[in-house]
Subunit: 112 residues, 2 copies
DNA sequence: CCGTATAGGTAGAATGTCTAGGAGAATCCG
DNA sequence: CGGATTCTCCTAGACATTCTACCTATACGG
């Protein structure tokens, strides 16, 4: 059910969220999901089964660059950072989000 | 592509939008799509192939009631109105939308 | 030694939305 | 009158995204 009631996040915003979090500095996948949960104060949470396919998708589209490194806890981890095209994409998606969410707000604001 | 760039609407918000528009008074399907476009100032537009399945879905779930009548232009049209459960559902979805969209805003507001 | 946290991943199902069609009736324009 | 456009309903099939559920492996605390 993509109905608004149960979703862990707003459908279609996952790419935007990932790009935005990665823009704050290199992170690995696991860290991305943690940051999204923390910054959103536990409202949004990305399941791993959504996260990793999304990361591969974004990398394949040339928006993310990945390389292996060592995480804080000393484990192998794949760190992602934004490419130039990813930065453009992020800007575009931020703008689109603003347009669409404002439009939804317009409709919800109509007096009853 | 459900990526934010090209969508006609924010995925997962269609039910909410329909319920909200119907809450303003009985409308037929065609009128719903027009109102959404107008109120959103041409930002959001529902394709007919999305609209009618959604209406049937909402009716089947008991949130909308339908009956045939005559439209302004004298044609047969199916008018929808909210059921009691639909009203509850609308309230719930409005709240969820507020929670989720605020959470997205939180993430987008993180300083760079 | 076992459970939890960290870190990566895949497969399959469910859902929603879009594109692309089809249909009929009313109205407007030339 | 003929043709185009608007109004109104609908379905089928393709597609992308996201979820649940599962798998692997290492480190650490009790």
């Amino acid at each position: 059910m993509t109905s608004l009631e149960k979703a862990d996040l707003l459908q279609g915003t996952l790419d935007l969220l990932i790009l935005k979090v990665v823009a704050l500095g290199p992170v690995h996948g696991y860290g991305i999901s943690q940051r999204i949960r923390q910054i959103s104060q536990d409202v949004l949470q990305v399941q791993q089964g959504s996260l990793y396919p999304a990361l591969h998708r974004l990398e394949k589209r040339g928006w993310l660059l990945a390389d292996w490194g060592e995480s804080d806890s000393g484990r192998e981890a794949k760190f992602y950072c934004l490419s130039a095209r990813g930065r453009k994409q992020l800007a575009a998606e931020e703008q689109t989000w603003a347009r669409l969410s404002n439009a939804v707000a317009l409709i919800l604001q109509t007096a009853e």
